[in-house]
């Protein structure tokens, strides 16, 4: 009884969002990595029909390729791309997506990967300078305490 309840709570705490119609998802694997779409229908336990009207278009994706966001919009099952587009615009999905950590992290990672050698050098210099400052202040605090 108690073990079952705690297991249930463990599961509930880990669940951020459900796989459901209207759930906005972020694509983390495959050709469309970094883009996002709305779940329009469910093919089976492992495949989704996802629609990103002006991005990926309408296609079937594996659950594996997708990360769920907190955003959910109200659309009927299997609706047309046009309906999805208007629903997304009404709920302001673009802005909400840009605020999600998934999108921000991906953008940051992407930007870092595309830095040139000079930019990486500049970053390294800045990092050593700030680290030096941090360590010296920590040493001073240790000495005074």
């Amino acid at each position: 009884g108690d073990l079952v309840q705690s297991k249930k709570q463990w599961y509930q705490r880990r669940v951020r969002g459900y796989i459901e119609i209207g759930r906005v998802c972020f694509i983390r694997l495959g050709d469309d990595i970094g883009k996002s779409g709305v779940i329009v229908d469910l093919v089976d336990q492992k495949h989704l029909l996802v629609d990103g009207p002006d991005g990926i278009g309408r296609k079937v994706l594996r659950l594996n390729q997708v990360a769920l966001t907190d955003i959910k919009i109200n659309i009927p099952r299997g609706c047309k791309t046009k309906t999805v587009r208007t629903a997304m615009a009404k709920e302001g999905v673009e802005a909400k997506l840009a605020a999600t950590s998934l999108v921000k992290k991906f953008a940051a990672k992407n930007a870092k990967a595309q830095l040139g050698d000079f930019a990486r050098f500049k970053n390294r210099v800045a990092k050593t300078a700030s680290n030096r400052k941090i360590r010296s202040t920590v040493r001073k605090l240790k000495k005074s305490s």
């Binding site: 599961y11 969002g17 459900y18 796989i19 229908d41 089976d44 296609k59 079937v60 769920l68």
Partner: protein, 135 residues
Amino acid sequence: APDEIVAKSRFWYFLRQLKKVRKVNGEILRMTLVSNSSPTKIKNFGIWVRYDSRSGSHNMYREYRDVSTTGAVTQCYRDMAARHRARAHSIQIMKVEEVKAGDCKRPIIKQMHNSTLKFPLPHRIHKYNKKTIFV
């Protein structure tokens, strides 16, 4: 079929069973790829299969959910290999038909016929490192 050559071969295989004609005596006039009329609509497919097991030949009716006929048939081949160890050469797909949701028989397919279907992913494991462990 995965390519034209296999397609032609299977064409003659099935035709020989139905009519008295062989590849030597016949001629394929045209081969076209039948395109999918609704690639973004999820459909339920009923597939009638005949396959040879180790001890005999059996008929089966199987159901799959997919976006295209070819996808459903591919699923069928994979499924038959997994569940019955049936290799492709011992499988004959007799009929593939799009089945309405109400006429589906298999519970695995019927469970998806719910307009408010939703489920969580409580124990999600991501495989980040795609490198092989052993060389």
